[in-house]
Symmetry: C2
Subunit: 455 residues, 2 copies
Amino acid sequence: MAMSSTARKRVVVIGGGFAGINAAVNLAKFPVDITLVDRKNHHTFQPLLYQVALAVLSPAEIAQPIRSILRDHQNIEVLMDEAVGFDLEEKRVELKTGAQLEYDYLIIATGSTHSYFGHDEWSKLAPGLKTVEDATEIRRRVLLAFEFAERQMQEAGTHPPLRFVIIGGGPTGVELAGAISDIARLYMARDFRHIDPASAQVLILEGSPNILAAYPPELQKKALDQLSALGVKIRTNAHVTDVQPGYVMIGDERLDATVTLWAAGVQASPLGKLLGVPLDRRGCVIVDQFLNPPEHPEIFICGDLAHVEEDGKQVPGVAQPAMQMGTYAAKRIGRLVSAELGSDGTGLNEPFHYFDKGDMATIGRKAAVANIKWPFHGRWSGFPAWIVWLVIHIYFIIGFRNRLAIFRQWAWTYLTFQDGARLITGSQELPGWDSQYGKQPSEAVVPAESVTTRT
Amino acid sequence: MAMSSTARKRVVVIGGGFAGINAAVNLAKFPVDITLVDRKNHHTFQPLLYQVALAVLSPAEIAQPIRSILRDHQNIEVLMDEAVGFDLEEKRVELKTGAQLEYDYLIIATGSTHSYFGHDEWSKLAPGLKTVEDATEIRRRVLLAFEFAERQMQEAGTHPPLRFVIIGGGPTGVELAGAISDIARLYMARDFRHIDPASAQVLILEGSPNILAAYPPELQKKALDQLSALGVKIRTNAHVTDVQPGYVMIGDERLDATVTLWAAGVQASPLGKLLGVPLDRRGCVIVDQFLNPPEHPEIFICGDLAHVEEDGKQVPGVAQPAMQMGTYAAKRIGRLVSAELGSDGTGLNEPFHYFDKGDMATIGRKAAVANIKWPFHGRWSGFPAWIVWLVIHIYFIIGFRNRLAIFRQWAWTYLTFQDGARLITGSQELPGWDSQYGKQPSEAVVPAESVTTRT
């Protein structure tokens, strides 16, 4: 340690999400050497991921290579690798390749993943939405469902009802439902000749008594109204007991589902378990007011992986607190390093405080609910809330160099709904379609009339 | 048939590439009902596919849903399905789902696919470039190679040479080589800290004595010079005898290859075989001057699947002739229908004539070779040829509604090389990397110095 106190301090950041990127950027101005490790090469702007899933945006519009984001900071290194273990005594991170990274300070911000409540076999049948790959898989399934229905109409004059079942009524479930409803009405009406738009159903299954549980009842009601206006059906207190190709079970009740999506549960990244420190029941690391786990003032847990309480309530696992935690950890490390270097240590022991600016969720293309707490107080819904959502997401969150270019492209595509990214790539199969609906109802030759009839 | 002569004629178009789309659009103005069948939901602008492979453009910028392209033509239907058989007597197409489509006229334009010369097992190790999926797979491999090399440098201070081997020196091989060389120099220099740009090699292996065999010797020479200036190595008369993870064999010689790409051979779509008509050795359907196979004046073969000769030379399998064939078939069907309907049949027996406007291939970001034949004669190379390439590709080929928007986005990304679509999605594995280079050269802890040293 005698040697290392004269050398520059090494900070290892695990995870390139909102917390990790903010930590790295804010650390860069201190005299430290930073290595950011992520198993992906890109940072994903998760709040807009559902728009990739619903074919409005392209992956590259909401994801950026981490190297590009951090390119200008000479004291940041980016390593595409995966942390698989820790030696907290020797202050080392073990990487998947077998290499080890030594650190003086460690920031762990590996986020969360889907929880299928012990039914991991459901993940293939009901994909969730965390990564770019998830989003393109959901896009593939939703678009294929329309193609298959159109094919059935052309070939047989009828098709089984299209039903999109979304398990979970939190913000992601609500945003997916609104976006699918939009795409169904606009896309089907313009690009398909035969499918009956009225036949497409979007259904949210929520286990608890209310959707958007974190929102005030007044906004829950508004969200219900706005979803109803889009034709989205909602069943609360509906506990899914099984997910199968083509249907889901709620107890004894079978609900046909052309496409099933998962927006129900998340669990912390498994990295928390490897630390050997106390976790909550979802696997989040319980940290103190400095975001440190017990007895490790050199380790900071940020973002969804951290269990932090503010006024007795757990800080939610969304972008804003993740960014704030990353920034806080960076500043605190900066202060610790500066204090060691002889500064006066002002503000050294300032605890983390979550500054809650509010929550918002979009409902389709022109409505949203927003529970704003800063810079003003307000509970908004409908179109004004959607405008607030748009401004905040573009101007306050996408803090990268191409904000304006992305905004221009995005606003144009989104507002006009013209030629979004409606590509079906990968397999042409939809789980359950064959078994549920059959490949083709009859061997008979399709009469010319049914092939060319218009609706 | 008595009934069908009073009904509108039905035209089935198989394939949504350049030939199929042009056929459908040009048929739309005649009193016929058109069904276009493609197993993908999108048309791919293949001349720019290599730019998706090399992370300049996003898939959605060069591919568009076929439904969107044809949306405004009320007498065109789009069916996402696959033709698997024909009944030429009864004039029916069998689809994969089991349905059948009746036709009065049939246009088959299913193009070509890679030929691995009987070694289909090479396809996993050396992907070719025909589809959006191929392009994202190549992108993944090329970008991963840089990430892996950087990781080795950080962890061990050295990495095995990065060598990108491109099998085949036609236009696709040359374009891939130029683009990889560009990305290596620009991307590595800006976004990576440790890899030595000089260590990246791009190598073209061409079996014949010359690259760009279809070009005049003068332009072949220019292309060689321009490739050399980019550091691309070329070996002609090099017959690859084996492709393995991490290397290729040329006879007894083993050549290490971090990433191997296939640009060597194409073969016709297997659909040609199902017709029971004469084929050439690559599986192309031999057609007459009306693009009809023998004895089937109601069937038109267009694009890469057609073997058409012009002045004793086979018309090449590229975009221009495919578009011209599609347009020709549409016009001829229109004339046949009009003649049947009582028109005077003017020009009815005009044969297909390929109007050769020339060939061009880009070499990196600022050079190209162009053998222009129309609207002026000229053999251009270097930057002027590149400008010609750019103008022609944007203004003359992308004939869709978003041409301008795509152009703006594309030109900006391409000219600045800023934040293209450098996402690595899918698996994080590179075939042969582990066996070839090892996961990690040593178990030793990386000393802090080697982690933070800059080059």
